[in-house]
Subunit: 109 residues, 2 copies
Amino acid sequence: MISKRLSELRKKKQWSLQYIADQLNIAKSTYAGYESGYRQPSLEAVKELAILFGTTTDYLLGATDEEQPTIELTNAAFHMTVDGETVTEDEIVWLIAFLRAKRDIEKKK
Amino acid sequence: MISKRLSELRKKKQWSLQYIADQLNIAKSTYAGYESGYRQPSLEAVKELAILFGTTTDYLLGATDEEQPTIELTNAAFHMTVDGETVTEDEIVWLIAFLRAKRDIEKKK
DNA sequence: AAAATTGTTCGCGTTTCGCGTACATCCATT
DNA sequence: AATGGATGTACGCGAAACGCGAACAATTTT
């Protein structure tokens, strides 16, 4: 299960095995083992991988099929950052306005 | 981390080591090892424990120590909607660009 | 075409797992 | 107080799985 998820996520991100191995400070072959199903990552590694991929351990382990719960931005009651800086409530309002406007333009094309 | 969480949860539920061991089909001493930190459960066991305790693997592993998960948008592998419509990956790129530009302007004021 | 990067597989040494066992502790019933 | 049963703790053993480096194939870059 986890091997499939890791493989999918990495391909989506177009990351190399080496890149991920470097991030976690493990050997390339070690991470490759995770994807092939030949090895199982430690609990600590699972945690780090979830963070690296921006997903949850529940998704990696197959406890859920959702990479992330679907969030309606207009109800945003969660914490989000861009470039490490918190996205403020004001900024969210701007983002929503911007997106609505952009979608409106696309529709008229 | 996980040992602490398991111990807390079990005590809160007032379950015995034996009971949990029976549920997972493992030896009492094996589960005891998880709580003492002497052993680490397999990924499969973590999944089952999360279900048994009615919690998430993220909680057991301490991936969600914080009340609300922080999500870095530029790393987004998660699902988001605005007005009920999925925010596409392309749109996220636009949103990030927009926000960066806006922040830049604010700084210069 | 050569060089570099990426992905796959395997053997080896080491770590750590799961189990059974032994023992201490706590409670309830007598 | 004494006894029996459930509970929690610790450890040794054999087996299983880990992480690494190395070797090689496949792909991409120069």
